[in-house]
C-alpha cells in the first residue's frame, strides 16, 4: 500500500517507457518469482492434479468485447494499462465485424469492456446492435465517466437499452478507493451511482441491474464471503449516501500490468504469488470464466480472456485467431492458453468478471 494518496492521473506503463508494458516481459517477471511447494508455480501441474488438464472451453456463453485502452482514469492496479494517453480503440469496421459474428451465433451475453468502453466512438452502436439482436448487454463502467459533461445523457441511454451496468468500486469508503483509482474518484463515483439510481438502476422491480465490483486495495486476497460483504456494503452505501444496488462481485487482483509493476516496486510480488498458488482451489479452477467466454480485442484478435488479451496471448493451439476467421464449433471447445497469471482466477472462492467462480 502506498503511503500517499496517488495523483489523480498516474502515467501509464507505456508512457513511462516501462518494460512491463510488454506482455512478454510481464510473463518473464512472473516466471522468475520463486514459489515454494510440490508443484511450484506451475499452473498446468496444478490443473493436472485437479483432473482439469488440459483446460478446455465448455462453450461460449459470453462474447466479451474489449473496445480499447482509452480511459479517463489511470488506476494503480489496472490490468489493461489504460489511460487518457492510450490510443488503441476499436474502429467502426471492427465493431461491425463483431456484430456480424454475433448475429451468426446465439451467444446470449455481450460484455463490453475497456478502458472506459463508453469512450469508444462505437460504444452506442455496439449496445444498440447487440440489443437489436436480442442479446443481454453488460457495460463494465468505471463510474466517473458518467460524470463527464459530455456523458450527461449516458445513464438514460443505458437504461433505455436495458444494459446491465457492472461498475468498479474497490471500497465502500473514499480512502482506499482514491488510493487505487485516483484522488476524488470515490466522490465522483458516488455521484455517478446517484445518477444511475435516478434513472432506476438498482431499484427493486426496475429490471435495471446495477452490480458493483470490489477488489483488494493491496497485496492480499478477498477474504470474506461475497454475501457478507454485500450486506455490509448495502447497509453502508444506503446509510451514508442513499445508494441502492443489486449485487457485489468480489474479484482478485491479477498480477499483471500496473498491479504487477506495483507488486515488484513494493517487494510484494513473491509473497502475493505464493498466496495465490497456496490458495489454488480445484473447484474454482473448474469454473474459470475463460471456459465459457470468448474475448475480442480492439483490433478483432481473439483471446481466451481479457487477461490473456493484455498479456498479448491470443487463442492458441491452431485455433482461429481473428474475428475474420471466427468458427464457433472450433472455438467453443478450444484448449485454453494458461500461465502463472491464471492463479489469479483460481485462488480461494475463485475470481472472474462475474465475481467468485464457486
Amino acid at each position: 500500500m502506498t503511503t500517499a494518496v496517488q495523483r489523480t492521473l498516474l502515467p501509464t506503463l507505456v508512457s513511462r517507457g516501462s518494460e512491463l508494458a510488454s506482455g512478454e516481459k510481464q510473463l518473464a517477471a512472473l516466471a522468475r518469482a520463486a514459489i515454494r511447494g510440490d508443484r511450484g508455480g506451475d499452473f498446468d501441474s496444478h490443473l493436472e492434479n485437479a483432473g482439469l488438464s488440459p483446460l478446455r472451453a465448455t462453450g461460449i456463453e459470453v462474447f466479451q468485447i474489449n473496445v480499447g485502452k482509452v480511459c479517463n482514469q489511470t488506476c494503480a492496479h489496472c490490468h489493461v494499462d489504460a489511460g487518457p494517453t492510450r490510443e488503441e480503440v476499436m474502429s467502426r469496421a471492427t465493431a461491425e465485424l463483431c456484430m456480424g459474428v454475433l448475429s451468426r451465433t446465439n451467444i446470449r451475453k455481450v460484455d463490453i469492456t475497456g478502458g472506459a468502453p463508453e469512450l469508444c466512438p462505437s460504444f452506442e452502436y455496439l449496445v444498440r446492435e447487440s440489443r437489436r439482436l436480442g442479446r443481454h448487454v453488460m457495460d463494465r463502467c468505471n463510474l466517473t465517466v458518467l460524470t463527464l459533461p459530455r456523458f450527461a445523457s449516458l445513464p438514460g441511454f443505458l437504461a433505455e437499452n436495458r444494459v446491465e451496468v457492472i461498475a468498479s468500486l474497490p471500497h465502500d469508503r473514499a480512502l482506499s478507493t482514491d488510493r487505487q483509482r485516483g484522488e476524488g474518484v470515490f466522490e465522483r463515483s458516488i455521484e455517478a451511482l446517484k445518477r444511475l439510481n435516478s434513472v432506476g438502476y438498482g431499484r427493486p422491480g426496475s429490471g435495471l441491474r446495477l452490480v458493483l465490483v470490489t477488489n483488494p486495495v493491496g497485496a492480499f486476497l478477498p477474504g470474506t464471503t461475497q454475501a457478507a460483504m454485500l450486506a455490509e456494503w448495502k447497509r453502508e452505501l444506503s446509510r451514508l449516501h442513499g445508494i441502492v444496488f443489486d449485487d457485489l462481485y468480489s474479484i482478485t487482483n491479477m498480477p499483471i500490468s500496473r498491479f504487477l509493476d506495483w507488486l515488484m516496486r513494493t517487494g510484494n510480488l513473491e509473497d502475493y504469488l505464493q498466496r495465490l498458488v497456496d490458495a489454488f482451489n480445484p473447484a474454482a479452477a473448474a469454473g474459470v470464466m475463460c471456459r465459457g467466454m470468448l474475448s475480442v480485442g480492439w483490433d478483432g484478435t481473439l483471446y481466451d480472456c481479457d487477461f490473456n488479451q493484455m498479456l498479448e496471448l491470443p487463442v492458441g493451439f491452431g485455433q482461429p485467431r481473428h474475428l475474420l476467421d471466427f468458427e464457433r464449433a472450433l472455438l467453443e471447445r478450444r484448449r485454453i492458453v494458461t500461465g502463472r497469471h491464471c492463479f489469479g482466477c483460481t485462488a480461494g472462492a475463485g475470481s472472474s468478471c462475474g465475481g467468485k467462480t464457486t
Partner: protein, 118 residues
C-alpha cells in the same frame, strides 16, 4: 539467566513462527484440537459478522501486544474489506481501554490518599 543463542533463537518473535502455530498440538493433540475447533467457530459469522469479529481481534491483539496476532489480523481485516482509517480506529479503541484502565485506578489512588492525607 541467559537465553538460547545463535540461530535457534536470535529473536523471541519471528514471522516464520506464525505458520507453525498448529505444531503446538504435538504434545497435547486433544487439547489443541479443542482449541482450534473452538477458535474457528468463534470467528464464524454469527450474531456479529466475521468482519466485526476480526476488528475486535485486531484491537485485542494490540491490547495484549501479540505481534503474531497484529500481523494476522491486520491482513484479515483488510481482506474483509476494512480500510486503514477503520483499523486505526480499532487500535485507538484498544489503546483507550488500556489507558482508561490505568486512569480509572486513579480513583483507588485518590481513595487511599484521601483516607490518610490531611
Amino acid at each position: 539467566m541467559l537465553g538460547l543463542s545463535g540461530a535457534l533463537m536470535d529473536t523471541y518473535y519471528h514471522p516464520s513462527d506464525l505458520p507453525k502455530f498448529a505444531e503446538i498440538g504435538a504434545n497435547a493433540p486433544e487439547l489443541a484440537r479443542k482449541f482450534f475447533d473452538w477458535y474457528t467457530a468463534v470467528f464464524r459469522d454469527g450474531a456479529l459478522s466475521a468482519r466485526e469479529k476480526s476488528l475486535i481481534a485486531l484491537g485485542v491483539a494490540h491490547a495484549v501486544q501479540c505481534p503474531y496476532c497484529i500481523d494476522a489480523y491486520t491482513q484479515d481485516t483488510l481482506s474483509k474489506g476494512c480500510d486503514l482509517d477503520q483499523i486505526t480506529e480499532a487500535v485507538h479503541v484498544a489503546a483507550a481501554i488500556r489507558g482508561g484502565a490505568s486512569l480509572v485506578h486513579g480513583v483507588q489512588m485518590r481513595n487511599v490518599a484521601t483516607k490518610i492525607g490531611m
